[in-house]
């Protein structure tokens, strides 16, 4: 019988009611009295030298409050990068200035040149058209290999070249080379991890407000981590101390990573609200989002896998170029390094793993973390090369993976991380069971009868989530701690507000977190509310990304609740005239062990706030506790995925006919929500594999800047319910956090792209197209058709 409350129950979401009735409060729903509107004039060229910006005609136009250019921001800091990578020579990465508004040059289509603040948005847009730009167009660099050539046009004139860093990690070169020298077989694959745009359905919005009365700034913004924005913008950009800056991220319509970062528009609206003495609002259009939201992925990789004569993996070597775009976005530098290199061992006991990454500046939108962030890139190359090796060696891809699995834990990989627990055979077993592999031959025959090719792809993956142990990431270059925090405030009548550093923008924290607190206290979940998204209300926490909310912030909440229980037992002991060590808490009742003497939760909370009969000499009144939790290690969710595709050899169209995921997320608090997270991740992974591509032409023009050009997955791109199963029944609880949870937000997006591509290649081989060893994503009909036809 499934549980109907507490940990493990598929509680329906309490936040749904407001979203289903139009009562949500998203940032664009907020209007501040007297607000003006800003329109950003953005570069329509990829690279150019700014000779002059003439705003004189525009300034006199109706409704214009003020026009800003880069000159107005010469006295303030640029947008900072939160992670300093050290290259293989021990040198720090190149960190070019990232001004709020362009200074001297424009470096990508969408780079903001000027900002017009006016009484209405229409007036701001109209005035922007009257700004006369004298910008000398320069040759643009888009292709990473060309950007690294000697003599290439430079994105940043003050740097020697376009190389941000040249990074090497893992096993030393001598040992790695020896593994390859001793190999019985080496499989090599060159591939592209396509540039994507995260595309949360809510475009970004920022509203800046300033109070002269107390010199306080407020920024309403679409952020996954309001405290991180306050820290970065206050300390590094605008020089506003924390106590004079409030950042509010109310209901946020999806993030997927792209709302982690501190953006120019946030700093602008905060700055301009004071400069104009009026609130200033910016709402991104979707077209603007495509050219100003940080993009994701965009790696070009060569991977080599060395196997011994018994098909054991003995070496992995990768060489990747990672596109940074024109500037370093907040966490951009960490994605191809610490979130990618550290995962290159995968689920396998390969003794030598060496990762090489060159990060490259180009005249494109900055690239940063997008759902999975580095881990999808690692998984894709590793699982594609393993699949290719299995085909070359003529062995079963399931068996090849199984024989190389890590099976004893903890396991220290050659790439710096220690997996605490896992059972990769268990998820593979579950996947095989759900996939009905013995029935595949019949399904393939049926497809062939209809003139289609059917293929099956499998894939295993591991992630590092629950980001992250501060001391470890500090050694790796992080410029912030990555703990989280929770305050549990028990009110006099026993109801509870839990203020959390995590931010919910679809994850359902308002439902899930109370499940945990209520279970610990034995009270009804309706007595517990979660407060998030406002730096003036919540403790200093680092927000939501990297599948960390429950593993890190949830752990802080557990620790704070434990403190509450300890204090409440002392109060109960006093009321019951017993030692607090004899007090037991069960079902919201404090009982003296072995007796029928008890007091209810509400009696104890009331006593805490009306301390007439209270041990004031020993403990303070009140019942409120805060805990900060810094994880001892990452968590390591892992899984085995499989899918079947049909390929129409006449058109190249691929359809997904069956999809199975078997995940190990450790313990699960709300199965319904976990499954929803996996569905969403898989849809994004299918999007990457088959549909989505952020495309530039050779001059740096963005070709995919609307939903007419950027193919988002639609309902009919996803397998029907009869042939789609997401399973999380394999559970090896995390060994180092109190809930034993690992995180589930990114798994689907990590596990699915190689699954789909492996299946397409299998289908093509079944049709005799054995010359096709790889097709880059998105595996679109034209690419498949061209591959089949040798073009």
């Amino acid at each position: 019988m499934p549980k109907d409350h507490g940990i493990g129950a598929s509680q329906k979401r309490r936040e749904d009611v407001r979203f289903l009735t139009g009562a949500g409060n998203y940032t664009d729903d907020i209007n501040v009295h007297g607000q003006a509107y800003v329109h950003f004039l953005r570069s329509d060229m990829a690279h150019g030298k700014i000779n002059n910006i003439d705003t004189s005609a525009a300034e006199g136009m109706p409704g214009v409050v003020r026009i800003f250019t880069g000159k107005d921001f010469e006295g303030v800091g640029g947008l900072p990068c939160g992670w300093q990578v050290t290259d293989k020579h021990g040198e720090p990465m190149k960190e070019p200035a990232h001004p709020v508004l362009a200074q001297g040059k424009v470096r990508h289509v969408g780079d903001p040149i000027a900002a017009v603040v006016a009484d209405s948005l229409e007036q701001a847009r109209t005035a922007a058209e009257a700004i006369v730009l004298d910008i000398e167009e320069l040759p643009a660099v888009v292709d990473m290999a060309k950007a690294l050539e000697a003599g290439s046009t430079k994105v940043h004139d003050d740097l020697a070249d376009n190389l941000c860093y040249d990074w090497q990690f893992g096993t030393d070169t001598e040992t790695t080379d020896a593994a390859f020298k001793n190999a019985a077989h080496v499989t090599t694959l060159e591939l592209v991890n396509n540039r994507l745009v995260a595309n949360p359905m809510e475009p970004r919005v920022a509203v800046g407000d300033y109070s002269r009365a107390n010199d306080e700034h407020t920024l309403y913004t679409t952020s996954q981590n309001p405290h991180v924005i306050r820290l970065l913008m206050g300390a590094f950009v605008l020089g506003i101390p924390e106590h004079k800056l409030r950042v509010v991220a109310p209901d946020v319509g999806g993030g997927f990573g792209t709302k982690i970062f501190h953006y120019a528009e946030e700093a602008f609206c905060t700055f301009a609200a004071k400069a104009c003495n009026r609130p200033v609002k910016w709402t991104s259009t979707r077209s603007e989002a495509f050219m100003s939201d940080a993009h994701g992925r965009d790696h070009v990789t060569k991977i080599e896998l060395a196997l011994d004569k018994d098909n054991n993996f003995i070496g992995v070597r990768t060489d990747t170029m990672a596109n940074m775009g024109a500037y370093l976005s907040t966490f951009s530098s960490s994605v191809p390094t610490w979130l990618h290199g550290t995962l290159m061992a995968g689920n396998y006991k390969t003794p030598a793993v060496q990762v090489n990454v060159k990060a490259v500046f180009t005249n494109t939108v900055p690239v940063d973390a997008y759902r999975g962030a580095g881990r999808p890139e690692a998984t894709f190359q590793l699982e594609r090369v393993i699949d290719k090796a299995a085909r070359e060696l003529g062995v079963d891809p399931v068996q090849l993976r199984r024989q190389n699995f890590i099976t004893s834990f903890p396991y220290e990989t050659p790439v710096a991380v220690a997996y605490d627990t896992g059972d990769y055979h268990a998820t593979m077993d579950k996947m095989e069971e759900l996939m009905d592999i013995p029935g595949f031959a019949a399904r393939r025959a049926e497809s062939e009868k209809n003139g289609k090719l059917r293929g099956m792809g499998i894939n295993c993956f591991i992630e590092a989530c629950g980001i992250a142990p501060s001391n470890l990431v500090g050694q790796l270059g992080a410029r912030a701690g990555l703990y989280d925090a929770a305050t549990v405030r028990v009110n006099a009548t026993g109801s509870i507000s839990v203020m959390v550093g995590a931010h919910s923008h679809g994850q359902g924290h308002e439902t899930v977190f109370p499940q945990v607190v209520a279970e610990m206290l034995g009270i009804d979940e309706s007595m517990v509310d979660i407060v998030h998204g406002d730096t003036s209300k919540i403790p200093f926490g680092m927000g939501t990304y990297g599948s960390r909310s429950l593993a890190v912030c949830g752990s802080a909440m557990v620790r704070a609740t434990e403190k509450i229980i300890n204090k409440a037992k002392k109060i109960a002991g006093h009321l019951l005239e017993a030692s607090d060590s004899d007090i037991e808490l069960k079902d919201g009742q404090f009982t003296v062990a072995g007796t029928d003497k008890s007091v209810a939760w509400g009696d104890v909370t009331l006593a805490a706030y009306v301390p007439h009969n209270y041990p004031l000499e020993d403990i303070e009144p009140g019942l409120e506790e805060t805990a900060f939790y810094d994880p001892a290690n990452f968590t390591y969710p892992a899984g085995a995925y499989a899918c079947e595709v049909e390929v129409d050899p006449d058109t190249g169209k691929v359809t997904i006919e069956k999809f199975v995921s078997a995940d190990d997320f450790g313990n699960v608090v709300n199965p319904m929500i976990v499954e929803g997270q996996v569905h969403g991740g898989i849809a994004q992974g299918i999007g990457q594999a088959l549909l989505e591509n952020c495309a530039y032409d050779e001059n740096g023009q963005l070709l995919s800047a609307s939903y007419m050009d950027y193919a988002m997955p639609r309902a009919d791109d996803i397998p029907h319910m009869a042939s789609y199963v997401v399973d999380h029944s394999c559970q090896t609880p995390c060994t180092h956090n109190p809930l034993g949870v690992k995180g589930c937000g990114e798994a689907g997006a990590i596990g699915s792209p190689p699954t789909v591509v492996n299946a397409v290649i299998d289908a093509l081989h079944s049709g005799g197209h054995t010359h096709v060893n790889h097709i880059d994503m998105p595996v679109s009909p034209s690419r498949v058709w061209a591959a089949i036809n040798g073009q």
């Binding site: 329906k12 979401r13 936040e15 749904d16 009611v17 407001r18 979203f19 289903l20 009735t21 139009g22 009562a23 949500g24 998203y26 664009d28 729903d29 209007n31 595309n199 949360p200 359905m201 809510e202 475009p203 209901d251 946020v252 319509g253 999806g254 997927f256 259009t285 979707r286 077209s287 923008h505 679809g506 994850q507 359902g508 319904m672 929500i673 499954e675 929803g676 569905h679 969403g680 991740g681 898989i682 849809a683 994004q684 609307s706 939903y707 007419m708 988002m712 997955p713 639609r714 309902a715 009919d716 996803i718 029907h720 319910m721 009869a722 789609y724 689907g748």
Partner: protein, 161 residues
């Protein structure tokens, strides 16, 4: 400026609008019915779907002046008279058919329009009908299940076929 009068969620409302004011702007900014959302600028995403004279319409693609005299229904008008969730809204909650909630108003309005014309759609018909509504969170699976359930169909039985 033109004066427009329309019935929105059963209430007669009037306002002065410019010729280029979109229905979605009138609903959101003039009437402060902010449940209707704007997720794109090319009429693709469907977050702004409302009903105009009973038909599903992308309110970002219609001028407010065009809705003069019309009956308009938004997500704010979808609950039952007693304030409880309607069958479709309840099914979205029961089947976890929403995550961040941003596309949800459009999904609910599209689902209602579908079920009005096709009370027992097949799964393929539901997926096909949602072509004009993009969701980035749910992967559509639970939205489809919610709509099938709202039509009175036995979702586990459909999944077992």
């Amino acid at each position: 400026m033109t004066k427009v009068t329309m019935t929105v969620n059963g209430k007669t409302v009037s306002g002065e609008v410019k010729g280029n004011t979109l229905l979605t702007e009138f609903l959101r900014e003039d009437l402060r019915l902010t449940g209707t959302h704007v997720g794109c600028d090319t009429s693709q995403c469907g977050a702004c779907v409302v009903h105009v004279n009973g038909e599903a319409v992308k309110s970002c693609t219609m001028f407010a002046a065009e809705a003069d005299g019309a009956e308009v229904k938004t997500v704010e008008g979808m609950a039952n008279a007693d304030g409880s969730l309607s069958v479709i809204q309840q099914a979205f909650q029961d089947y976890h058919g929403l995550q961040c909630g941003f596309c949800t108003p459009g999904m609910v309005m599209s689902a209602a329009a579908l079920l009005k014309d096709n009370p027992k759609p097949t799964e393929a018909e539901v997926r096909d009908y949602l072509e004009g509504n993009i969701c980035r969170c749910t992967g559509y699976h639970n939205i489809v299940r919610a709509i099938m359930a709202a039509s009175g169909q036995d979702v586990p039985a459909v999944a077992a076929e």
